[in-house]
Amino acid sequence: MPDRRAVNDTISFIRGLITDSLPNIGIILGTGLGGLVKDIHITHKIDYKDIPHFPVSTVESHHGYLIFGTIAGKNCVIMQGRFHFYEGYLHDDITYPVQVMAALGLKNLIISNACGGLNPIFHKADLMIMRDHINFHFTTPFRGNGYHRYCNRHPYDRDLINLAEGVALENEIKIQKGVYLSLHGPHLETRAEYHMVRKLGADAVGMSTIPEALQAVNHNMKVIGLSIITDMGLPDILKPAALHEILETAAEAEPNLTLLTEKIIEKMIV
């Protein structure tokens, strides 16, 4: 576990920079929510590599900045660029930023991701609210670390889910709800694997989000997970997925996800 002193180092570095009021909402930007950055009134943008003890992202399509600013008049901290298990990070590293957020006193976390749809009623470019998850990483952020209070019955906050559904309805955004299953990646799944994870109860399959959500819940944060369905993993009619198509679909869904996120933040009680 990143020891307490490391987190304290990071916190005092951040507190040294941010003199105005601290944020209360954290956002982890996944593939397809990058555009949200344009709508932030940015007060500080810090490169991950300048932050003491912060891991550094290796994926090309992800930048690594911690951004402080306001969205819809609310103070937020945004992770632009995240850490994935398939990059070789341990769950400790992946969830380090969440521990820092918790230490900063944040109470709410919005996590977004791009994932493959398994539920045949879903379509490419649909948005999905994560109702629940299945961890297939064969490890957790708490392995060997003890835990504070973790209860995994409802990692995703019921009030935030209701709020998000209401917001989607009001703004006429089509929304799905489903169970997200995370595998290691980085390779995509075989037909037999899509078949298996669907049978196990998943509506969507991805490679991220679960470690951060677990850590946030452990720190008493309210979590909401928002997914973009970037391709369909229907085993019987599976075609090779191209990375550029996945990114194109993410871009197609981005305006809706950005709007949804902003409206959720606007209505969030913090």
Binding site: F138, E189, T190, L200
Partner: protein, 275 residues
């Protein structure tokens, strides 16, 4: 050049120096250690894994197996005789290493042969499975970590992990030869302990027909490196939940040998038919 690539080149250059043929074959077989069907080929040169530099981080001393430069009729081929087993404590990267070495040597097609148990009640121990797809339930894979883009893409597509066209050709070949085979989905688990009855039931429920310990990491590495793959399972034991019985090592071996014996002539002919 990444550390990984340097290691691959070091091994590949060493093997190039040992190659007895004018040209290195674009075709390779990867099999478990010393099956009787490799006797169908003429072994021209044998290089033990232990002697191939650089050693794995977990050590090569106990590594069992060798690289065989073999000939059959007018064809030559490379055989990796022996898997690098995850259950022996080797990393997935170690199992992947030899696959990347094959690619660096110019191999474009790999036929994998793994020893398996059958979960599907209609199958028979002592026979041969043709593998169409796999499920990775090993809790790990060889691509986790930094990616070397010169080896393969960050997010490889697995929708054609076992080349559809090549597998269809093999299927046609086997049917023409009236050779009985079992079409299968393979599930990869770590082993080495045998499976409980509840596990066998679970693996069957989630869609697997046969089970093994070695194929998955090798196949993932091969797909990552852009190689065309096909795979056979040599069925040495029955793992059907509702009638699960303990079987002895001797019985397993005799089942395996029975399958190997019927498979040997077919394999040799299959190899000579590969374009």
């Amino acid at each position: 050049m990444t550390e990984q690539k340097k290691k691959i080149f070091e091994s590949a250059n060493f093997l190039k120096g040992k190659n007895p043929f004018k040209k290195i074959s674009p075709f390779a077989i990867v099999t478990y250690y010393n099956p009787s069907f490799i006797k169908a080929f003429k072994i021209v040169k044998r290089v033990s894994y232990k002697d191939i530099p650089p050693p794995f981080s977990s050590g090569n001393e106990k590594l069992n197996g060798d690289v065989l430069f073999a000939a059959h009729k007018n064809k030559n081929l490379i055989i990796l005789n022996g898997h690098v087993n995850y259950y022996d404590g080797y990393d997935m990267n170690d199992a992947a290493h030899y696959i990347y070495v094959l690619q660096a040597l110019g191999v474009a097609k790999i036929l994998f042969i793994d020893e398996v148990g059958h979960l599907n009640p209609r199958f028979k121990a002592g026979s041969v499975a043709l593998i169409y797809d796999h499920i990775n339930l090993m809790g790990n894979n060889p691509l986790i970590g930094e990616n070397d883009n010169s080896i393969g893409p960050r997010f490889p597509d697995m929708s054609n992990a076992y080349d559809e066209k090549w597998t269809a050709d093999i299927e046609k070949f086997l049917i023409d030869k009236k050779f009985r085979f079992y079409p299968s989905v393979y599930i990869g688990v770590t082993g080495p302990e045998t499976e409980t009855e509840a596990e066998c039931r679970l693996y069957r429920e989630i869609g697997a027909d046969v089970l093994g310990y070695c194929l998955v990491p090798e196949n993932i590495a091969a797909v990552h490196a852009g190689l065309s793959c096909a795979a056979f399972g040599i069925i040495s034991r029955e793992l059907v939940a509702d009638r699960l019985v303990e079987i002895s090592e001797e019985e397993k071996l005799s089942n395996r040998q029975k399958a190997e014996k019927s498979f040997a002539s077919i394999l040799a002919e299959l190899v000579s038919s590969i374009k």
